[in-house]
């Protein structure tokens, strides 16, 4: 953290892409920054939350991405530079306002960073958010490494301010989570407070003003298309031969390495400023080519644009990309994929893969030892077993989604943040089945409240379990409105989940999920009480809650190897190797296994986890 804040102009630092983005914000004099945490963008907020107050920036973890974009837009409309960032699916949440900000424009620079996730390392889809630039008619930049994240983002602020338009910066997982040498610049003094100059004809988008503003937006974007051809962020590498590659963002890296390693006679046009498209530069690049390969992650966006340029300019060049099947249509790329794809059309000597013949056991992610979600899922499954009841589990986005794994099997349906409650409303009307929906505390604040109102008002009948571990755990433990401190670590009013639920007249119970007997009893009651019920399972995340109890021990004389602790609880600290064993490296002494052992063979080893 110190390295990001204290590095002075010209210093070389080994930065993560997301850390470079945070550095870009302070080098650009951003006065207001906002986000809702989401991997692969999370570390930007982690850095800003620690350094914002030191540099005089305002930073917040907003309740969701739409709110984050609105906070940033208002700041930029008031003449204060603003930065908002999120994962790709977060832009969907924000999109309702985002598309309109193109119309109103901004006064000071406003940059929106979308961290896309090709191959879905930690996401429900791999949508290509470059579409949003076209959709909202705002400029788009695509950095390919941490240095470019810093440089492009800084440029994006100037561009935004010059044309009074928000600018979208699109990264991908391999760029956000790439670490490399970054030469930093100087830190610009930030303007923290501005002045909002009223102009309803611009800032209040009713149909009459929107019609005018859309026309102005198109004019602006046309003006910008005149500068992209000369942008230094679009570059040609080793111009020679009849073959060419057009590429952008992280995909450029693979093309670069392959061409250089194999010393291929292929020129590369690397696009960094990709919307509006530098069509003049592209047609100039295509002029003498026989074949061009379009290498981009995820959708064939540049490829379609190139085809239209070829059509307009009547050029004769074969285009090979996703549309003709040369390159895969889905997932992230790498040098092997790029090589195999290009190798279909030009002779290439590629390494043969030495694959392993034996099949190895998978290693899916799971709940940490001592995680309260494991206990909650154990108890509700026990309650259902005792009631001989089958339910639909409508779940949500967070660590608890890992309940999809055996032996918990507590995830049957999931669309997006907050969908657990919304979808449960639908299931309760469309089926006669019992429904349990799971939602985490941060997700509840993000998008769980409107569907909860919906459930009450429309008299839906199901059980909502709010898994409250006191943090946004999945993305690394960021705070949310339920906590007594904010994103900059200052004191803040904590908002009580149960008060919100009670205010709607819903029957609510709060349990400590680590108390198994009581939890099972509460779940059984809630499952057999008609109408909407809420159970809040509250216990802190084991990653943010440092205190730990002493590891439990097993009396193998009492153990009859019923395997309840392995087959039903599946704590990674308990394994079987000629008898049940507790791995002392991992056990956090949460004592859930002690409570569930039918033979009382597991004993706490003094001290508890509290």
């Amino acid at each position: 953290m110190i390295k990001i804040l204290n590095a002075t102009e010209g210093d070389e630092v080994f930065l993560l892409g997301n850390e470079a983005a945070a550095r870009a914000a302070i080098e650009s004099g951003v006065g207001v920054a906002s986000t809702y945490p989401g991997t692969p963008s999370s570390e930007i907020g982690d850095v800003l939350s620690k350094i914002a107050s030191k540099v005089g920036m305002y930073f917040e973890f907003s309740t969701n991405e739409k709110v984050a974009v609105e906070v940033a837009a208002a700041a930029a409309a008031s003449g204060v530079r603003s930065f908002t960032f999120m994962k790709h699916v977060g832009v969907n949440v924000a999109s309702d306002s985002l598309v309109s900000i193109g119309y109103t424009g901004v006064e000071a620079g406003m940059v929106i960073l979308s961290a896309d996730d090709p191959s879905m390392f930690s996401s429900q889809n791999e949508q290509d958010n470059r579409h949003y630039a076209r959709f909202a008619n705002i400029p788009l930049l695509e950095p390919s490494n941490p240095q470019e994240i810093l440089d492009f983002t800084k440029y994006a602020f100037n561009l935004s301010e010059k044309f009074k338009l928000p600018v979208l910066v699109r990264t991908t997982t391999r760029v956000s989570h790439m670490r490399s040498k970054v030469k930093v610049g100087g830190i610009q003094k930030m303007r923290k407070k501005g002045q909002f100059k009223k102009d309803p004809s611009r800032f209040v988008l009713v149909p009459s003003t929107a019609r005018t503003m859309h026309k102005k937006l198109i004019k602006k974007i046309n003006k910008i298309s005149k500068i992209v051809d000369k942008s230094p962020y679009n570059q040609i590498y080793h111009a020679n031969g009849k073959y060419g590659i057009i590429t952008s963002g992280g995909a450029f890296n693979y093309a670069h390495d392959l061409v250089n390693e194999k010393e291929l006679p292929i020129s590369i046009l690397k696009l960094g400023f990709t919307y509006p498209l530098p069509s003049g530069l592209i047609s100039q690049f295509l002029e003498d080519l026989e074949k061009v390969f379009i290498i981009e992650e995820v959708d064939p966006i540049i490829e379609k644009d190139v085809l239209s340029i070829i059509g307009q300019e009547n050029l004769e060049v074969d285009v090979h990309g996703k549309l003709d099947g040369t390159f895969p249509r889905i997932y992230e790329y790498n040098q092997d994929i790029v090589g195999a794809s290009i190798g279909k059309l030009i002779p290439l000597k590629l390494e043969k893969k030495k694959a392993l013949k034996t099949h190895l056991p998978e290693r899916p992610p799971t709940f940490c030892p001592g995680c309260p979600h494991r206990a909650t899922y154990y108890s509700i499954n026990k309650a259902l077993e005792e009631l001989e009841m089958q339910v639909i589990f409508s779940t949500d986005i967070g660590c608890y989604t890992l309940g999809i794994e055996k032996p918990y099997n507590t995830a049957d349906y999931l669309l997006s943040m907050g969908s657990s409650i919304g979808a449960a409303c639908g299931f309760s009307k469309a089926t006669r089945q019992k429904i349990v929906s799971f939602i985490g505390d941060s997700t509840f604040f993000h998008a769980g409240i409107p569907p909860l109102l919906n459930a009450v008002h429309n008299k839906h009948d199901f059980l909502i379990v709010i898994l409250d571990n006191g943090t946004t755990a999945m993305t690394g433990g960021q705070p949310h409105p339920g906590l007594p401190f904010d994103g900059m670590g200052d004191e803040a009013p904590a908002i009580s989940i149960e008060s919100i639920v009670e205010a709607l007249g819903i029957n609510v119970k709060v349990i400590n999920p680590m108390n198994i007997k009581k939890s099972i009893r509460t779940f059984k009651e809630a499952l057999t009480t008609p109408s909407l019920n809420v159970v809040i399972a509250r216990y802190p995340c084991q990653l943010s809650f440092k205190a730990r109890g002493k590891p439990v021990r097993i009396n193998n004389n009492l153990c009859n190897e019923c395997l309840e602790c392995i087959n039903k609880l599946a704590c990674p600290a308990i394994t079987y190797d000629n008898g049940i064993k507790v791995d002392q490296r991992y056990c956090r002494g949460c004592t859930v296994c002690v409570q569930i052992c039918p033979e009382k063979a597991i004993k706490p080893k003094g001290g508890s986890s509290e």
């Binding site: 991997t39 391999r174 670490r179 056991p361």
Partner: protein
């Protein structure tokens, strides 16, 4: 022409894999070299398999192509086997012998460690397997295991960075109060390969 010296680091979430990569990266910068590194964050880190790929030299892509890695640092035996196709023929493989069975299988279904090592041996003549957990325990803290592996890796022939640069980078990237223990683990790993 190979563009970089490629190091594949793998294991299980929570073993300090990224930290080991970061220390190598900073050391490479100290030695005046270019370096890129990939990291896995988020969901996969909850006890899942995690890898970090460090490329010292002119490569821009952070994913090591098949058959390109010059060195593997495996913090867990099963995860080493999963990555064999990344290795070039004469790659050096440093493998920790302590297994961490995936939570969804019992140890009985985990391939015997000696079989894993034998299989790895088919892919590389330069295999070095040792109990890095024990070296770390002897150094004073089980969590210094990553530095024991790093120590052994630093001692491999062809490793492009000096021992001094690595130690200096450790000093700058580890909490001060843990540096001594980690250095001891590093030295333990280094020596165990040398002799």
């Amino acid at each position: 022409m190979k563009l970089s010296y490629d190091i594949y680091i793998c294991g299980v979430g929570g073993q300090g894999i990224i930290k080991a990569g970061e220390i190598i990266g900073w050391a490479a910068m100290k030695e005046g070299m270019d370096v890129v590194m990939s990291e896995i964050h988020g969901m996969a880190q909850r006890g899942g398999g995690v890898s970090t790929e460090v490329r010292i030299g002119k490569a821009k892509g952070t994913i090591i192509p098949s058959g390109h890695a010059d060195l593997m640092m495996a913090f867990e035996p099963l995860e080493a086997l999963r990555a064999v196709e990344k290795m070039r023929k004469d790659a050096y493989l440093i493998v920790n012998l302590t297994p961490i069975p995936p939570f969804n299988i019992s140890l009985r279904e985990y391939p015997p460690v000696d079989e894993i090592i034998a299989e790895l041996g088919k892919f590389s003549r330069n295999l070095y397997a040792f109990d890095a957990d024990r070296v770390a325990l002897e150094a004073g803290h089980p969590l210094s295991m990553n530095m024991a592996i790093l120590g052994a890796a630093t001692a491999t022939p062809g490793f492009p960075l000096s021992e001094d640069a690595i130690i200096e980078s450790m000093r700058e990237n580890l909490p001060e109060r843990l540096f001594k223990v980690n250095l001891k683990a590093f030295k333990g790993g280094f020596m165990s390969l040398e002799y």
